[in-house]
Amino acid sequence: MANKVVQETFSRPAQPKLTTLVRLCVAAWMVPGLGHLLLGRRWRGLILFSAIVTMFLMGLAMQGEFFSTNSGSYLQTLGYFGELCVGLAMPAARFFGYAGGNPLFVSADFGTAYLVSAGMLNTLSILDTYDIAMGRKP
């Protein structure tokens, strides 16, 4: 039993530094797939980037709504943080003139679902980056 514990302790790969982990997670948050790219998982990063950014762009094309924290509604605040999880894409869309959607547009509800889901998928991508960096996943 003791031998097994010692063996497992020594066979575990070296843990990365906290700063490295934070840097990877921030990179994965800012640009979907960038964390995987920095860890050498090029194809995985490229597929994640394509899928998440396509979802976000389709949300913009369908006039999805950007939530704000000023509405006083807990659900809208949650939606704001959900959309924020997609990283730099949200401020970039605002910078390029996206006014925050038109709730009366016919596809606006789908667009909002696309925007929030893109953020949620990027959150999963960040957690995957963390797991790979910690050696829990190949």
């Binding site: 597929i47 994640l48 899928a51 389709m58 094309a61 016919v106 789908f110 998928l121 995957d128």
Partner: protein, 57 residues
């Protein structure tokens, strides 16, 4: 851009399935199979729920 409901649902299911497949499994074959399974489940459940809700006013 106005997108009809069915294509919007199909595209949504496809993109989510791709991400789930890539993140959940480790080999390309497993990813493809899992992604296809998630996609079919998404679309199937949406169609069944749609038909169940159809007679509801």
């Amino acid at each position: 851009m106005a997108v009809p409901h069915l294509p919007a649902m199909l595209l949504f299911s496809f993109l989510v399935s791709v991400v789930f497949g890539v993140l959940s499994k480790n080999t390309p074959r497993e990813r493809l199979l899992y992604g296809a399974k998630v996609f079919v489940t998404f679309v199937g459940v949406a169609l069944v729920l749609g038909w169940i809700m159809y007679p509801v006013p």
